[in-house]
């Protein structure tokens, strides 16, 4: 376990994330121009879609079915467990609880990528079709969480605009679009773009995590504002959700790598798709709460400690 942890902490992507945080702490003028951030995220999302799609094109449907159902079920369940914990234990008002639940039910693509990459290095390759599961996990939780509010009351925000924001949002379009392109053009098609989308991937991810560190560092300033409960929530909830997902993934027939990556996905909290949808649909929810929790607490936790933990657990169960 300890050597898994160390291997993770000394990987270029985790170190790059740390460099980003440090750069901000020493008030460096290092910053990524916004177009570079956008370019990297377009690239990363399309790349994982393409690879996943090409893989799907030669995977029998039966193999994917059970993992897909498990993923969907978790996508419906985790926003509800999050909501209940926030309301009952955290004594949070309904709106903010639902807003945070939407984030923790949905998924962070970068956490997924980091987990997959970590698995590769450990020799615990996840199934190639995992990106399809990411696409499935992204949307339902946000819908469920918003329903928790809109089902009860007539409400300011716009439910339909929020939904459109997720469904036609760039992360879903790129991921699903990449999956379809990869599926249709197949392994042969992927080979043409391999040097760009596959070989360059980990380096681009390193650069992206440097930027993530710069952004997350700004959220760290707000840690005090959000209170101890939310800090604890941002660490404990991922462990619970992640462990459950590892177990269910194993049960659904995923490999050790696959279950661990599913664990990381389910444990992760969205900070791109969910915030945009929630801001539109639940404008009165406080962004400091949900952004700080997902980006300032859960993301760094998963990146540094969570991912090795889910792998250790998956190994223990399935290895």
């Amino acid at each position: 376990m300890l050597d898994i942890l160390l291997a993770n902490l000394l990987s270029p992507i985790v170190l790059a994330f740390a460099l980003g945080i440090i750069a901000r702490l020493i008030r460096s003028d290092l910053s990524f121009p916004e177009p570079l951030y956008q370019a990297l995220s377009i690239y990363l999302l399309l790349a994982i879609g393409l690879k996943g799609g090409a893989e799907l094109s030669h995977t029998p449907g039966a193999v994917v079915l059970r993992p897909a159902l498990v993923t969907l079920a978790l996508g419906m369940l985790t926003p509800i467990t999050s909501y209940v914990v926030l309301r009952k234990i955290g004594r949070m008002d309904r709106i903010n609880a639902a807003a945070i639940a939407a984030h923790y039910g949905s998924v962070s693509a970068v956490t997924f990528i980091a987990a997959q990459t970590f698995g590769q290095l450990q020799g615990n390759l996840a199934e190639g079709f995992m990106p399809a599961l990411v696409a499935m996990l992204e949307v339902p939780a946000i819908v469920v969480a918003l329903m928790l509010v809109f089902a009860r009351s007539n409400h300011h925000g716009s439910w339909r605009e929020g939904l459109h924001e997720v469904l036609a949002g760039r992360s879903v379009v790129l991921l699903v679009g990449g999956l379809v392109i990869g599926y249709l053009s197949g392994t042969e098609g992927l080979k043409q773009v391999e040097p760009f989308f596959v070989s360059g991937f980990k380096g681009a991810l390193t650069l992206f995590l440097l930027e993530m560190g710069l952004v997350a560092a700004r959220r760290l300033r707000d840690l005090k504002k959000v209170g101890t409960f939310l800090v604890g929530f941002g660490i404990v909830m991922p462990i619970l959700h992640g462990s459950l997902a590892v177990v269910l993934g194993h049960w659904a027939g995923l490999s050790v790598g696959g279950s661990a990556v599913l664990g990381a996905m389910v444990a992760s909290a969205s900070y791109i798709a969910a915030p945009a949808a929630v801001r539109i649909s639940l404008p009165e929810a406080n962004p400091t709460l949900y952004l700080t929790a997902s980006l300032g607490i859960t993301f760094p936790f998963n990146l540094a400690l969570g991912i090795p933990l889910y792998f250790a657990l998956a190994q223990w169960i399935g290895g």
Binding site: V215, I272, P275, A276, I280
Partner: protein
């Protein structure tokens, strides 16, 4: 050169509102707009974007009546929950009928 005095209304708002604001402007009678990507700080520290601080500035030249309508619309719908400011200035334009 014959100039007319109209109103330049400027809105600075968090980016997530861009589409809605532009739609509202059109409905309220604006005939055009100019949009700039800006950043900024005000009383609200954070917004729904990992890119906090990134805003849009929307400028539109309109008749005084339309200006009032726009300001009222924004005050009513957005001041409470969103990071947004709005202000107006008189400007001299040529081809005044282009804007009304």
């Amino acid at each position: 050169m014959l100039t007319v005095t109209l109103k330049l209304v400027t809105i600075v708002a968090e980016r997530v509102l861009q589409e809605r604001l532009l739609r509202a402007l059109k409905e309220l009678g604006a005939r055009g707009y100019t949009l700039t990507e800006v950043s900024g700080e005000g009383s609200r520290g954070v917004r729904a974007s990992e890119w906090e601080g990134h805003n849009v500035k929307i400028e539109t030249i309109v008749s005084p009546e339309v200006a009032d309508r726009i300001i009222e619309h924004i005050a009513e719908h957005y001041f409470r929950y969103y990071a947004v400011i709005v202000y107006a200035q008189p400007v001299e334009v040529v081809r005044g009928d282009k804007y009304v």
